[in-house]
């Protein structure tokens, strides 16, 4: 994007005159103002929709006895349909408030879930039932594509994680197959891969970033949990196969030239494939030749730290502030956790800070070098 520095530079070089510079400055300011305003509308309306949705779910959970069951169902199901229709009208027919319309469509997806849980509550369907979450997920999933809605893709990702969590609690036989953190790691990689696939086709590209973001968060969360000593690492033979399979799928997409050109986050995508293969290797050792708990904890710490550094590098390289923020966000709990785990006494603590500082200095050297390369390349293009 054009900024004031560039305009000044062009003015100094004589590429543009003062009148052109003034016009560019005015247009730039106008564009920024409009862009900011759009973002504010999206933020306020989406947060508003989420708050109302949470309120409706809590209303169902309170099981207020002053209103009869039939009235409650009619009220909530009616609101779901009514708000959905209003959202549709504002976004596609009236078109005066498209962002508010999108937020109302998200709200209707939340109210659909609240209505479903209300019916389940009335008929006393067993608590913590994974099928209900699955029905909610399947009920709103088509809207991702029907209305090209990224927030609903986010909601579906959350429901997917919630569903596998409850299912894991319900089906005790799953414990023997895979531990819950590996299940989330596999799910996160799979969701990230779903995001990559969405990036390949123009008509579903709107969901790419959301699925990738949600997948990445689950991967980082599960890896972070693995950096602790969990006491015994056991998985079934099929788990390394699943990891390796996901790694191969991601690599296959990245290796195909016609796909690669469509992908924006190549470095993170490749990093995700590497994570899949590394964890496939680790789980393979857990099956055939188990290592000590400390070794696994150490390995996961190295993988997690390495992945965060890769994310930082990739984020700066592609000017993707979302990736940079994600990496910085996960650095904080890692530093806190390891600080309290290993560096309680003064001498180890001093080493911890020196080592941490050295790592950051090394990263800054790499980034500086990269920046210089880019500058040289840029200058070359100009000449």
């Amino acid at each position: 994007m054009l900024d004031q520095d560039l305009i000044r530079k062009w003015l100094d070089e004589g590429t543009i005159n003062h009148a052109q510079a003034e016009k560019m400055r005015a247009d730039l300011e106008e564009y920024k103002k409009e862009h900011r305003s759009k973002k504010q509308i999206i933020a306020f309306s989406t947060i508003g929709a989420i708050l109302i949705g949470i309120g409706a779910i809590l209303f169902v959970a309170s099981n207020w006895e002053k209103i009869g069951d039939t009235v409650k169902v009619l009220l909530l199901a009616g609101s779901t349909v009514g708000i959905h229709y209003t959202g549709h009208r504002l976004k596609y027919e009236n078109r005066k408030y498209p962002r508010l319309g999108s937020a109302l469509l998200l709200l209707s997806a939340l109210l659909f879930g609240a209505s479903l849980f209300l019916i389940a509550q009335i008929y006393n369907i067993n608590a913590n039932n994974s099928t209900l979450v699955l029905v909610w997920l399947l009920g709103v999933f088509p809207l991702i594509y029907g209305y090209r809605s990224a927030p609903i893709a986010g909601l579906c990702s959350l429901l997917f994680y919630l569903w596998i969590g409850i299912l894991y609690g319900e089906r005790t036989d799953l414990n023997k197959l895979i531990n819950i953190w590996d299940l989330y790691l596999v799910s996160g990689i799979a969701l990230y891969f779903t995001g990559i696939l969405h990036g390949l086709a123009e008509n579903v590209k709107h969901a790419e970033k959301t699925f990738e973001f949600m997948g990445l968060q689950a991967v980082l969360f599960a890896l972070f949990i693995h950096t602790f000593n969990l006491g015994g690492y056991k998985v079934e033979k099929v788990v390394p196969v699943i990891y390796a399979f996901l790694g191969i799928l991601i690599l296959a997409v990245l290796c195909l030239e016609r796909f690669r050109s469509k992908l924006t986050g190549f470095q993170v995508d490749a990093g995700m494939a590497v994570i899949s293969f590394l964890v496939a290797g680790i789980t393979l050792t857990a099956v055939y030749s188990p290592l000590s708990e400390k070794t696994y904890t150490g390995l996961f710490n190295i993988i997690f730290l390495g992945f965060l550094i890769l994310l930082l590098y990739a984020g700066y390289n592609t000017e993707n502030i979302g990736i940079i923020n994600t990496a910085m966000f996960w650095f904080i709990p890692l530093i806190f956790a390891r600080y309290f785990d290993f560096f309680w006494e003064l001498l180890p603590r001093s080493f911890f800070f020196i080592l941490g500082g050295l790592v950051l200095l090394a990263i800054s050297v790499v980034l500086e070098r990269k920046r210089r390369e880019l500058k040289v390349r840029f200058a070359g293009v100009r000449q």
Partner: protein, 190 residues
């Protein structure tokens, strides 16, 4: 597909899901047979539906030495059909089936735990395992109550050592729905 069609399809799809759920449960309520089951309740909270009472029925634990079974081997998540005999309105286990029995009043359940018993030889080594007990879920283990009322039920039960029963409707396919909760024979109302 245009946006108008997507709107109509979504609304129809959602209403079908709502009415499907209601119709499925209403079918059982309207066509099923009423039966009382004895319980032991406690009160936790569901993320989306609030306070509820966990219902652990007498028929939730089946003693394989006392109740005849069509098959002697069951594993986790197996479907079972428990034939019930009505004694003073209460459902009492009669026989465990693998498939829906004909000419019997039965309730459908799923095996959630299996307790084994081992026979040992002279040197105390296990020689044969037999199933001692089955823990079954019938899909009627939760009763949702208004906020804070679950604790009241539990307190009343503890203080007066009152019996808590559940009135359940079971349809001809063995599907069960809780109709009401009874403390000392009285239906509780909220």
């Amino acid at each position: 597909m245009n946006q108008k069609k997507i709107l109509y399809l979504t609304v129809i799809f959602w209403l079908l899901i709502f009415s499907g759920f209601i119709a499925y449960k209403e079918y059982t309520l309207r066509t099923g047979t009423e039966v009382m089951l004895k319980t032991l309740p406690v009160d936790p909270r569901d993320l989306f539906r609030g306070d509820y009472v966990i219902l652990n029925y007498e028929i939730s634990t089946l003693d394989m030495e006392k109740i005849p079974a069509e098959d002697s081997y069951f594993t986790y998540n197996d479907r079972i059909y428990l034939a019930l005999e009505l004694k003073d309105g209460y459902g009492v286990p009669k026989k465990i089936y693998r498939t829906p029995p004909e000419n019997e009043f039965y309730i459908k359940g799923t095996v959630k735990d299996v307790l084994y018993e081992w026979e040992t030889d002279e040197s105390d080594l296990a020689t044969e395992e037999t199933i001692k007990e089955l823990r079954i879920h019938y899909g009627i283990e939760s009763y949702f109550v208004p906020e804070g009322r679950g604790i009241e039920i539990e307190r009343e039960q503890r203080a007066g050592s009152k019996g808590v029963d559940v009135k359940v409707i079971v349809d001809k396919y063995g599907n069960a729905i809780i109709k009401s909760l009874l403390i000392d024979g009285k239906e509780i109302e909220f």
